[in-house]
Symmetry: C2
Subunit: 260 residues, 2 copies
């Protein structure tokens, strides 16, 4: 049976109404599924109250120890457990995980080159513990992953949710066919950033290189697409990007952008 790995971003997580609609659609998906959720603005809002100043170096946010504790609380606790509780109420037997739980997602602190990102984890792809995920889904549970990984030495690390979705999808592809769906606030990859309906139906790595060259694809879409291509190139059957509101159509291939 095919596994659906579905990633939902912070923009949806932050919006109670949109999140409820998304989770309802997610809960109706039949068969094996895994949800990976992003962080959202709430961590920053709580951080401000806790006087945890966002720490930027060259425009990149650094995860210092107070920030690591903050995201552990907010991503691993507040967000993850409320998503789990909401899914349970929808009849979806969710179980929340970080990368530390069952040692599912081993990672290492990002190597310091120009910037020390602090407690940011790069996933040890070859060591992902698919066994727990497999046991859970085979027994009817639905893993819900927070964007936190495990450093192998008693510590958590902050890791981008798109990357976690990519890594889980790749690792699970060794066991079963996997479809990876990135749900975000756009209908897909847009050929005209100003036109929300200018969705490219499918995109190859060559197309991506060209559109990036022309700066039609820029900003946060670049790492998102890098993750998507890494997945498709490493054995994930299908990778689709699209709007969280359109999850049912994304699942059947009738919306969003296919990575080919």
């Amino acid at each position: 049976m095919e596994l659906q790995v579905i990633k939902v971003g912070g923009n949806i997580i932050d919006d109670e109404v949109k999140l409820a609609a998304f989770l309802k659609a997610f809960s109706t998906i039949e068969g094996y599924k895994v949800l990976v959720h992003g962080g959202g603005k709430i961590a920053s809002e709580i951080g401000i109250k806790l006087n945890i100043e966002p720490n930027y170096v060259n425009g990149r946010r650094i995860t210092d120890k107070p920030t690591l504790d903050l995201v552990t609380m907010v991503y691993g606790g507040l967000l993850n457990k409320n998503v789990v509780a909401s899914l349970q109420a929808l009849g979806c037997n969710a179980i929340g995980l970080t990368g530390a739980d069952g040692g599912v997602i081993p990672a290492h602190r990002r190597l310091v080159r120009d910037i020390d990102y602090g407690f940011v984890g790069d996933v040890n792809s070859a060591s992902i513990n698919t066994r727990l995920i497999k046991i859970l889904i085979h027994n009817g549970f639905v893993p819900v992953l927070a964007p936190l990984t495990y450093d192998g030495a008693g510590g958590l690390l902050n890791t981008n949710a798109d990357t976690i979705a990519q890594e889980i999808a790749k690792a699970m592809s060794a066991l079963m066919p996997v479809q990876l769906i990135y749900c975000f606030e756009k209908k897909g990859v847009l050929i005209d950033a100003a036109d929300d309906n200018s969705v490219i139906n499918s995109i190859s790595r060559a197309d991506f290189m060209e559109l990036r060259e022309k700066e039609i694809i820029s900003g946060g879409m670049i790492p998102k697409l890098e993750n998507a291509f890494a997945a498709i190139e490493m054995g994930v059957s299908k990778v689709i990007l699209g709007h969280a509101d359109e999850l049912p159509a994304l699942l059947t291939g009738n919306a969003g952008t296919w990575i080919v």
Copy 2:
């Protein structure tokens, strides 16, 4: 095989050195085991920074919505995930759970009689989902439970960790022999509160009634012992109370107070 259900309190959770020693001892226990952890002072400390004022009615703390979010973050996120990560580093394949994960611990909001405790859950004993715990322990995982339960309608509830330990131990007793160990900051039930070494080796319900009458047992020991007796009377094989520092001796019955 016997299941060890071990509860560790907030006083240990709050003390980095004691917690590390406790987790090391816990990690060496062979066979099936479950850890239930309490809350600790850190939630109150973070609550103060977040301007979540402790709300007391008749001396009892009320869990209002901001407090529920606080404990969800701190118990379900910060504490639970750091305990899991520490255990993983000790070679113990821990997996952190709240009562919402896998619907393990269904509860209902405490009925309002004289006081409305807010988002406090009383466990629906008959509905505990032992299946997830069983699957996890049979596959070599070690469930680590935070003191949060699930209201069946998308919400979490704040529940005393002693109670959770009792309920899990009772429910699991239907499947296998269970030993329940309450680890706290005393060597057991003391016959003289001023003498830490005046441990009563064993206590029956009749002894308890008598000692409570004489006010030798008072305060927080009363609900702790109520939980312990509820467990032993509902099929848990052995129930022991003792000091977290003495976990190995508690396991072999060479320390602490036995509930008989």
